[in-house]
């Protein structure tokens, strides 16, 4: 699975990296972010682009799997 580590990056970098990864990926993409609002932004971006997003909290960060 393609992984995007966007922990600690300022807005809108996590979203830009997510968009880039989704454009180039065939399968699911895992995005790791550290802030709750970034988790939500990534989930919303996935939904807006017709994809499913499942989030889990792990070690104080959020893993969002988009497929």
């Amino acid at each position: 699975m393609k992984e995007v580590d966007a922990r600690g990056l300022s807005c809108p970098e996590p979203l830009m990296l997510t968009a880039e990864a989704l454009k180039n990926a065939d399968g699911p993409v895992k995005v790791i972010v550290s802030e709750p609002h970034q988790k939500m932004n990534v989930e919303k971006y996935a939904k807006d682009h017709g994809k499913k997003a499942v989030s889990t909290e792990k070690d104080g960060c959020f893993e969002v799997v988009i497929e």
Binding site: R7, G8, S10, P12, E13, L15, S34, H37
Partner: protein, 367 residues
């Protein structure tokens, strides 16, 4: 406690309406009419109150600033969004904070005040909007080219609470001592009662935190991702202030309205807000967003706020701040507001600094 204001456009617009109402109430109760709540002006007034500059007409520890930081802090703790972080190029952010303040004081207002001025019919603010959009767009181009200030990391959780505690300290000084300076005339002397300002700030900070309100971010998201979520918040605020201004007779569509702390030097209105928009995108948010992020634990944003505070003092110590169009008290003649020569030089330097920062700091993967 779990409530979220950023998952639908309706809620975002509602958050904007609430913040607009706060601004209207503050203006109604005595804040300068079309300043209502201006982050740059109010940080500048606070710098004056602390004696960092000696411009007697702009010295007052604005409880709105204190309230916004503490409001964002409290709501982020309550909703488990508080995270103490630091380490994303803090001193570059300090410089960006300085640029934001200098650009704002050349134009005479932060992006929030630009929107409030627009809602009062001030055509100079509409001109400045062109510069702001261009500045944000330049920042967006830098982002597309791989600009990044690097990652922030988790720090001791006390670190993120320092700015909120310092703000509480200023409030104690304001309420319990006579150490702070107070303007006896000019914009600094015009203010709502402390309790109204403080509550207004707390509400504004809390709603801004939950809605992620950001003036630079709203335009950046449109430019970069055709996303209209954040602009919805600004739209809500604008509409409320527009109605308030029309209802109270403060809506004057003109360039040279005296007494509203604005000038009509179009080029410098554009360049001032160009610098602000550019720097705000590089710093990840407008002045308001920096206060809110600092409240929710970002030491990097707290450093940006410190940069704004220091630059505010420098602006008045070095004569960089513009003057507003006013009526001469004796002759009754209109005296046009102006940008100072030093302010023009500083503004150009700020833009050059933004370009250097924008195109020398790259994401690891983009190097």
């Amino acid at each position: 406690m779990n409530f979220n204001l950023s998952d639908s456009k309706k809620k975002l617009a509602l958050a904007g309406v609430v913040c607009g109402l706060v601004a209207a109430v503050l203006a109604y109760f005595g804040n300068p009419a079309n300043m209502a709540i201006c982050i740059a002006c109010f940080i500048r007034d606070t710098a004056g109150a602390l004696g960092l500059h000696q411009a007697a007409v702009v010295q007052y520890a604005r409880p709105e600033i204190i309230g916004i930081v503490i409001g964002a802090f409290a709501i982020s703790v309550a909703t488990k969004e508080y995270r103490s972080t630091a380490g994303s190029s803090p001193m570059i952010r300090f410089v960006l904070g300085m640029v934001i303040m200098i650009g704002s004081l050349v134009f005479l207002g932060c992006p929030l005040r630009m929107v409030i001025r627009m809602s009062a019919g001030d055509l100079n603010a509409w001109v400045a909007l062109i510069g702001f959009i261009l500045g944000v767009s330049t920042g967006a181009i830098a982002l597309k080219n791989g600009f990044s200030l690097g990652r922030a990391h988790e720090t001791q959780k006390e670190s993120g609470a320092v700015l909120p505690v310092l703000m509480a300290g200023i409030l104690v000084l304001l309420l319990c001592t006579s150490l702070l300076k107070f303007s006896e005339s000019g914009p600094g002397s015009m203010h709502a009662p402390i309790i109204v300002s403080l509550i207004g700030g707390l509400v504004f900070g809390a709603f801004a935190q939950k809605s992620r309100m950001c003036f630079a971010g709203s335009i950046r998201d449109i430019v970069l991702m055709r996303n209209f979520d954040l602009i919805t918040v600004i739209g809500g605020l604008f509409v409320v202030m527009l109605i308030y201004n029309i209802a109270t007779g403060n809506f004057t569509p003109a360039f040279d309205t005296p007494g509203v702390v604005a000038h009509s030097e179009h080029l410098w209105n554009i360049l001032g807000m160009y610098a602000v928009g550019f720097a705000a995108v590089l710093a990840g948010g407008c002045p308001l967003r920096q206060l809110v992020l600092a409240g929710q634990g970002s030491s990097d944003s707290a450093v940006t706020v410190a940069g704004m505070l220091v630059a505010a003092a420098l602006c008045h110590n070095f004569g960089l701040a513009s003057s507003g169009t006013a009526l001469d008290a004796e002759t009754g003649e209109l005296v046009a507001g102006a940008v100072t020569p030093a302010g023009k030089v500083a503004c150009v330097i700020c833009i050059v600094v933004c370009f250097i920062i924008a195109f020398t700091n790259k994401r690891e993967s983009a190097k």
